[in-house]
C-alpha cells in the first residue's frame, strides 16, 4: 500500500507542472478521507494524500470542470473511475482534451471489496501500481442463478428496506442530469414507503444504467439498506456486451449502442421475433 502511495505522490508531482490541479483523495482533519484538489503551489499537502477507500471522483471532476471549462485538470483514477470519466466524456459532460488521467491499479483486496471484474485502467498514460486480474462477483452470480420466483422474492425483500434516500442516484458518476425521472411523480410514486412492488424506482434506474454503469459500486456502498442494486446493472451490462458488443469505458469512440441503428447481426442476438 505505502509503495503505491509513494509512487502516486511522485506521479502527481510529475504532473503538477502541466495542470491547474490534481483531483485525488486526502485524509483530512479528523482523519477522515474526502476528495481534494491538490495544487503544485502546495506540494506539502500531498502528505495527506490517501488512496483508500475510494471516493466518487468523476462526479467531483465534472463539477470542477463545469465551473472552469478551460482549466487543465488531472485526476487520480482507478479502473472504474476511468470508465466513469470516459462515459461522461461520451455524454458531453467532460472535456477529454483538458484532462490528464493518473491511473491507479487496484489491489486484490480492493478488487474483492468491489467485486470488480476490471480493477485496472486502460487509457491512462501515467499508471501507478501493477494491474491485476478481475475477481468474481459472487453476489451477481448468486442472483443470476436464482429461479424467477427466488429473484422476485429476493428483490422484494431487498427493496423493502429502501428508504428512498436517492443516494445511489446522487452518488452515481453517470447520473448527471439536472432533473431526474426518478423524481417524476408520473413514474415514481411519492410519499410511499416501503416502495410498492415492483419498485419503479429501481427498475427505471436500472434501465437508465443501460450501457452506462461503470461498476464502481459507489451506489451499493452508500446504500443505508445495503441493497446490492448493481447486480441489476451488471447483469444488463453483460447482455449489452453480448448483444451489441459494448463495454462501458472500453473504447473512446464507441457510442452507447441503444442510441444507434442496428448493426449487422445485432438483431439476431436480441432474441426478438422475425
Amino acid at each position: 500500500m505505502s509503495d503505491r502511495l509513494t509512487s502516486l505522490r511522485e506521479a502527481i508531482q510529475q504532473v503538477f507542472p502541466q495542470v491547474d490541479g490534481v483531483l485525488g483523495i486526502r485524509r483530512g482533519p479528523g482523519g477522515i478521507i474526502s476528495p481534494y484538489l491538490f495544487h503544485s503551489e502546495h506540494p506539502e499537502e500531498l502528505e495527506a494524500l490517501a488512496i483508500w477507500p475510494k471516493e466518487p471522483l468523476p462526479d467531483v471532476l465534472r463539477k470542477i470542470q463545469k465551473a472552469h471549462p478551460e482549466a487543465k485538470l488531472a485526476i487520480v483514477c482507478r479502473g472504474c473511475e476511468e470508465r466513469g470519466v470516459v462515459e461522461m466524456m461520451k455524454h458531453s459532460q467532460l472535456n477529454w482534451d483538458n484532462l490528464t488521467l493518473i491511473g491507479l491499479q487496484c489491489t486484490k483486496e480492493e478488487a474483492e471489496f468491489c467485486r470488480c471484474a476490471k480493477p485496472y485502467t486502460v487509457h491512462a498514460k501515467i499508471v501507478v501500481g501493477e494491474p491485476i486480474e478481475g475477481v468474481p462477483d459472487p453476489v451477481t452470480e448468486k442472483v443470476a442463478a436464482m429461479s424467477r420466483e427466488e429473484k422476485q422474492e429476493f428483490w422484494k425483500e431487498q427493496f423493502l428496506h429502501c428508504i428512498k434516500c436517492y443516494g445511489c442516484r446522487t452518488i452515481c458518476p453517470q447520473c448527471f442530469c439536472n432533473i431526474c425521472t426518478l423524481e417524476d411523480e408520473k413514474f415514481v410514486e411519492t410519499g410511499r414507503l416501503p416502495m410498492p412492488n415492483p419498485s419503479m424506482y429501481h427498475l427505471i434506474r436500472a434501465m437508465h444504467m443501460t450501457a452506462k454503469c461503470v461498476a464502481c459500486r459507489e451506489c451499493e456502498e452508500t446504500c443505508p439498506a445495503d441493497i446490492p442494486m448493481a447486480v441489476h446493472f451488471r447483469l444488463i451490462a453483460r447482455d449489452v456486451q453480448e448483444m451489441f458488443s459494448y463495454e462501458t469505458g472500453a473504447i473512446l469512440e464507441q457510442k452507447p449502442p441503444q442510441l444507434l441503428v442496428l448493426e449487422e447481426g445485432e438483431y439476431e442476438r436480441t432474441g426478438l421475433p422475425h
Binding site: D20, G21, L23, G28, P29, G30, G31, I32, I33, S34, P35, Y36, L37, H39, E41, P53, E55, P56, V60, K63, I64, A67, H68, A71, I163, K164, C165, Y166, G167, T170, I171, E221, T222, C223, P224
Partner: protein, 136 residues
C-alpha cells in the same frame, strides 16, 4: 487557483448525527458527500442529508427575521424581532399566566441549544410546556 475541498460536518437535520462532507468549490457549496469512514453513518445518508447543501444558498431561504405588518411580511432587524417576541411573551404571561405559553424546539438545533430552550421555558417563563419535533 481553483479551490476545491470537502468540509467535514454533521448533518443538521436530526439527532442521528450522520456525518457528511460539504463540497466547496471556490467558496460555494456545490454538493454533499457522505463520510465513508465515519462510524455513525458509515458512508450513508438519507434523502435530507443528501440535500443539506441545497438550502444554504437557496433563493427562498430567509436571511433576516420577518415581521408581519398590516398583513404583510416585512424584513426586520434581529433587535426589532427579538424585542417584539420578548414584549409579546411578557404580555401573554402577564395576561394569561406562564402555562399559556408552549415552547417547541427542533432536531435541527444542537443539544446545547435544545437545553437552553427548555431552560428558558422553565426558568424564565415558568412553564413545563416544552416539546420537540423528534418526539412527534
Amino acid at each position: 487557483m481553483i479551490e476545491y475541498k470537502s468540509v467535514l460536518t454533521t448533518c443538521p437535520y436530526c439527532g442521528t448525527g450522520c456525518t457528511l462532507h460539504l463540497q466547496v468549490l471556490d467558496g460555494t457549496l456545490v454538493g454533499t458527500l457522505p463520510a465513508k469512514e465515519h462510524p455513525i453513518s458509515q458512508g450513508g445518508l438519507c434523502i435530507k442529508g443528501w440535500n443539506v447543501h441545497a438550502f444554504v444558498n437557496h433563493k427562498d431561504r430567509l436571511r433576516t427575521p420577518m415581521i408581519r405588518k398590516n398583513g404583510k411580511l416585512e424584513e426586520a432587524t434581529w433587535e426589532e424581532a427579538l424585542g417584539l417576541v420578548a414584549e409579546k411573551l411578557g404580555e401573554f404571561k402577564a395576561k394569561s399566566g406562564p402555562d399559556s405559553i408552549a415552547l417547541l424546539t427542533s432536531a435541527k438545533c444542537t443539544n446545547e441549544e435544545n437545553y437552553l430552550l427548555q431552560k428558558f421555558g422553565r426558568a424564565v417563563i415558568g412553564t413545563n410546556n416544552v416539546d420537540h419535533c423528534a418526539r412527534l
